[in-house]
């Protein structure tokens, strides 16, 4: 047996280190435990201790690995840590050099989502008070999505069908992958800088949580929040919620729905416009009638009997003007007849006339009030009966007791 050799501390420590590092079992381990003493050092490295009931294990995660974490670990969290065991000579301690951390239970993405949601909610990014109003009649709709995607086609075709008046300004972006979030955020900023859109649709078709991840990233959330142009978010399917949805001024369940929310329906607008035009014509008709009455009242007043010729001149002039308006109104009404027919058709389906045609009648008292109860009139009282065609004025002979 060789005599004992004197070793320096370093020599011994590096010997132990080499032993540990040579062990295949320690070169790649996954350790389950609870995090304590968690420190997020300004250098970007993370230091913590993993523990269970009986033991503790010092851990370090270097910045390059920590940057890839989707969520922020914290004390008390139950995790699985993958890494290798080695020695830190300066402390004379062995530790786990962590390369990845996964939360136990929920997946890392779910946890990251919940953490980001809680963080931004606390900052007030989802507050209803900061939501912008979506303009009712946008002339320019900004569209941020992937070129050639189903989402793109859906949005463009819904916009064309509902309100082709709105022009589409398209910003092709990546909606998936490492660079996606930055490209979406850049497009939002660009739209806002140019001020070229009245409303912006940010959308993407369905996919897994991983696929939709770009829309959960902070950079996208901040860009949506900072955007002065109102933003409609339509990411994934009805059941998918993203951080982008929460920050947006309106969340639509799908890309198509986002397009529906962005513009009004031209069909509804036509009815509305026809009604406005009818109101205009009616108002002018009424105006003419009122003026006619005024003029004839004036003309008949005895005080003005003298200078009849002068009045006649004025009357003629007014009448000519009236004729012009008359004609204009008639032309207009003719033009609107088509629209009116549609409206009239709608009204008719609600009309009591249809009920009367089936043989029912409406009974009214003398002041026009509708009688639905025999006690509302009396023997000898006057009533009117409204029929589908014409009406009857009647006197009540007798009242049936059944009141």
């Amino acid at each position: 047996m060789a005599p004992l050799q004197v070793l320096t501390v370093s020599q011994l420590t590096f010997y132990i280190k080499s032993l540990l590092e040579a062990d295949a079992n320690l070169g790649a381990v996954i350790v389950s435990g609870e995090i304590s003493n968690y420190k997020n050092h300004y250098s970007g490295h993370r230091y913590f201790t993993l523990k269970d009931e009986n033991a503790t294990l010092k851990c370090v995660m270097f910045r390059t690995s920590a940057q890839k974490l989707r969520f922020e670990p914290d004390n008390g969290m139950k995790v699985l840590v993958r890494g290798r065991i080695s020695v830190y000579p300066a402390d004379g301690s062995y530790q786990l050099y962590a390369e990845d951390i996964q939360p136990e239970g929920l997946g890392a993405l779910h946890l990251a989502f919940e953490q980001m949601k809680a963080k931004l909610e606390k900052e007030g990014l989802f507050s209803p008070a900061v939501k912008k109003t979506i303009p009712k009649y946008p002339g320019n709709v900004g569209l941020i999505t992937a070129e050639g995607s189903a989402a793109y086609r859906d949005v463009v075709s819904v916009l064309a069908r509902r309100f082709p008046y709105a022009q589409v300004i398209f910003a092709p972006v990546q909606v998936q992958g490492a660079a996606a979030a930055a490209s979406i955020a850049a497009a939002l900023q660009r739209f806002d800088e140019l001020g070229c859109a009245d409303v912006i649709i940010v959308c993407r078709g369905g996919g897994s949580l991983e696929d939709l991840w770009a829309f959960n990233e902070e950079i996208v959330a901040r860009a949506v929040y900072a955007c002065r142009t109102p933003v409609i978010s339509g990411v994934g399917h009805e059941t998918d919620f993203t951080i982008c949805d929460f920050v947006a001024d309106i969340r639509a369940p799908t890309p198509s729905a986002a397009a529906e929310l962005a513009v009004p329906s031209a069909a509804d607008e036509k009815i509305r416009n026809a009604m406005l035009a009818v109101r205009c014509s009616t108002a002018v008709w009424n105006f003419i009638a009122a003026q006619r009455e005024k003029v004839s009242a004036l003309a008949q007043s005895p005080g003005l009997a003298g200078p009849a010729s002068l009045i006649d001149t004025y009357r003629q002039r007014i009448d000519l003007n009236m004729l012009d308006i008359d004609r204009a109104v008639r032309m207009r009404l003719k033009g609107e007849r088509a629209g009116l027919d549609i409206l009239a058709g709608k009204l008719q389906t609600m009309s009591p006339l249809r009920v009367l045609l089936r043989g029912y009648s409406i009974v009214q008292n003398e002041s026009g009030g509708i009688i639905t109860d025999a006690s509302q009139t009396q023997q000898g009282g006057k009533i009117q009966v409204l029929l589908a065609k014409g009406g009857l004025r009647c006197t009540v002979d007798e009242i049936d007791g059944e009141g």
Partner: protein
């Protein structure tokens, strides 16, 4: 009335309807308003019936922003 947006035209049309319904303007102004309303209604109709969707690319996007599309 050139270069008016649909929204502006509609807003003005609504204004005119209100003014006309009040019936308090003199004859000549009423006539002018009515003419304007007719033109506005026609313009609105054109916006809805004759507009064709146009799609333009947001100019100046950073190159490379459109690669690696979704599936």
């Amino acid at each position: 009335m050139k270069k008016m947006t649909y929204e502006q035209a509609l807003k003005r049309l609504e204004e005119i309807v209100q003014i006309l319904e009040q019936g308090s303007k003199p004859l000549e102004e009423t006539m002018k308003l009515y003419e304007e309303a007719t033109a506005l209604a026609a313009f609105c109709g054109e916006c809805l019936d004759k507009a064709e969707q146009k799609i333009t690319a947001l100019a100046g996007l950073k190159p490379g922003a459109d690669e690696d599309d979704d599936v």
